[in-house]
């Protein structure tokens, strides 16, 4: 509990707000004619990490960036994962609750199961990345005597296709599970709100024409199949609003 919150709670206790004084997450009895529980500045703001939140080693980060650049390439048609800084998104995610699998059910026993039974790795996402990236480097060294990042784009695509189509297998972890997870995370990082570190300057939203997290489209419901040219807006506004 930070100081500000502690002061709030103290004040509420002095005012006799017993229901409100219970810290978030603990059992509280509400109601009994007391009306709605409410405390100022208790909004559940999103957790999105900071620039200091990192999980990958510099080498791991390089490989993840290189893979993302092939999954969502920068090309004549428009920007890709590199411009959107998808690797920073993934790095922050791995450093947080998601990478730790904190909200996932991670009790054993473990068994591979059928495809319809979903993710069954004993490793949370961050550890799966770490082990798989090491195996990917081993594979590239044995097949090409090079690091993944030093392969040509064509060679990189061939390796990634091999993971996707289960032609390449790793020893300790499933190459396919790793590939599917990374593709999912790359798409998340490309299209998520920029507060999470990817989709930098809403570059992906602008590319596909998504106007972002606006809250009111009533003026456009009757669009009759015509384009709606609107600049995208993020949860924290857009450059024209938030910068001089």
């Amino acid at each position: 509990m930070d100081l500000l919150t502690r002061r709030h709670v103290m004040r509420l206790m002095l005012l006799g707000g017993t229901a409100l004084a219970a810290p978030h997450g603990f059992a509280a009895e509400l109601g009994r004619g007391d009306g709605l529980p409410w405390a100022p500045s208790k909004g559940e703001n999103p957790y999105y990490g900071t620039r200091d939140d990192r999980f990958f080693t510099p080498e791991e980060r390089e490989i993840v960036a290189a893979i993302c650049a092939r999954l969502i390439p920068s090309d004549d048609d428009g920007p890709g994962a590199t411009e959107a800084d998808v690797v920073t998104f993934i790095d922050r995610q791995m450093a947080g609750f998601y990478g730790r699998g904190q909200h996932w059910y991670m009790k054993g026993p473990y068994s591979q199961g059928t495809a319809t039974q979903g993710y069954q790795s004993e490793h949370p996402p961050a550890i799966l990345y770490r082990l798989a990236l090491a195996e990917l480097e081993t594979y590239c060294a044995s097949q090409h005597e090079a690091r993944f990042v030093d392969l040509s784009e064509e060679q990189q695509d061939t390796v990634l296709t091999g993971l996707d189509e289960e032609e390449i297998e790793f020893e300790g972890v499933s190459a396919k599970v790793f590939f599917d997870l990374l593709l999912k995370n790359a798409i998340e990082g490309f299209f998520a709100d920029p507060i999470y570190g990817g989709n930098r300057d809403m570059i992906a939203w602008r590319y596909i024409g998504f106007p972002g997290t606006r809250y009111d489209y009533r003026d456009f419901v009757d669009h009759r199949g015509k384009a709606i040219p609107l600049e995208p807006v993020s949860l924290i506004g857009r450059p024209g609003w938030s910068r001089p």
Binding site: G43, P46, A115, A204, R218, G225
Partner: protein, 586 residues
Amino acid sequence: MTKQLPGVDIVLVGFGWTGAIYAEKLTAAGLNVLALERGPWRDTPNDFATTFAQDELRYYWRHGMFQEASQATLTFRNNSSQTALPMRHWGSFLPGNGVGGSGVHWNGQTYRFLPSDFLARTHNEERYGPLPEHVTVQDYGVTYDELEPHFDYFEKICGICGQAGNLNGETVEGGNPFEGPRSDNYPNPPMQMTFSQDRFAAAARELGLSPFPVPSANMSRAYVNPLGLQLAPCTYCGFCEKHGCGNYSKSSPQTTIIHVLMQRPNFALRTNSEVLSIEKAPDGSMASGVTYIDANGDSFFQPAEVVVLCAYPLENTRLLLLSQIGEPYDPQSGEGVVGKNYCYQVMSSATVFYDEEFTNGFVGAGALGMVIDDYNGDNFDHSGLGFIGGGYIACHTTNARPIESHPVPDNVPSWGSRWKKAVRENFLKTTSVGVHGASMAHRSNYLDLDPTYTDAHGRPLLRMTYDFTLNDRRLTQHLTPVAEQIANGMGGREVKVNIRRGSYDSVPYQTTHNTGGTIMGADPKSSVVNRYCQSWDLPNLFVAGAGLFPQNAGYNPTGTVGALAYWSVDAIINQYLRQPGPLVQP
């Protein structure tokens, strides 16, 4: 050590839609009601404010408002020859958590089941002869006509926006000509439709079908409900399903009931309080209350005169099994009832891609859509088709949230430059015609306790054994081509059909319409509760929710869940309290 608490008249296990409904009626009747909710308090200004509610990563992909799988999940297998494994994170469906439950993050598509849906066995056998062996479809034990006033009241509580098609037996132009007779019109007019719905409706009419507006819990105008709570016009922001509404535009327990409850001195709510079991009186004839654990790990025994299970259907089933109430279902013998007739929903679709026109899917709302019911329930002749039931076929524009929604044509790879370009070309130019198919009960689909995996408190997880049935497969094979035919008439460049093939897959999101496990019926040998949703075993135990459905109809469940809750609580107040005991003699 379990601490004994002072007794209450009624204890509600779980505080979503049905908890709020029971609490409102029972407190209004003067009873002392306590709701125990596993998750936290949630309300619009703090928890889904407009400043951060539209966060796709947080609320959908990181499961911001769902049950935490780390606390309790379920195990899944397609059939009993496999070993069930835990769903380590959610996929196919998303059980809610916290005050309001899944009623916070639903879309708001609010249907009434058809009169024949409540008589699924008698009606179909009368018309088509005996159902196949192992099809365990049953009647509800309650009829549409008995539920009608309760459907009507729930629609008024929610302010549902729609167009009646059958008012007291008179057909009304523009509504659903197949619906059961309604005593009143919807309280609000339909939502304003967009380009995609206009195209869908025109194509459906061209085929001789009868399109009507999807009954919507997203407001078409400002509304004050019978409890005096106010809802605001929907802004078509496209963040309904999987999100809370920051705008008071979507009916939820919060926006339609809870604020009133919190003013009543005879209502209390304890949050972060998870019920571990229902306790029985020493002679086993009645429920004595519930044992729950709070976030500090302290456990309490809460005595109550009446216990109502208002948790999600999967958890209601697990609680009965853990508390050893009712005979667990055995798929070998077909005997037993708890966990029986687990059903789901059979979904398929046809995506339309346009070249010139923009569908602008981001201008959307959870229940913004046009729909046909010509192929639902028994609205068409099933002779010789080899299946019963059906589904609605609809064109919704619910969202274009970009992590989730970027359909691409056939033969486009799933990553790389060609994929990226196809996403850009089609993101603003697609719509979908969806089939929302019924799921008929089968002897081999059921819920029981897992022998291996346990939750955070060490209790067995629920185990789901489920696959699509022959009836489901024939149903989807018959209906999907109709969706394709409508889609072909919508003037696009191409249509991509997404058929339902293979085994049920727990990974991709399909729908949070899990039904059965605590089914209602006319006979204690084949149902868990009677027609008033009262336990056959313990007369002061009632069960709410879609777990009551003996099989799932081709509609979203919430309208019928609401009507059944009002029907049941009415029976508690007007029958049970006057003379406590079984309301139906077995």
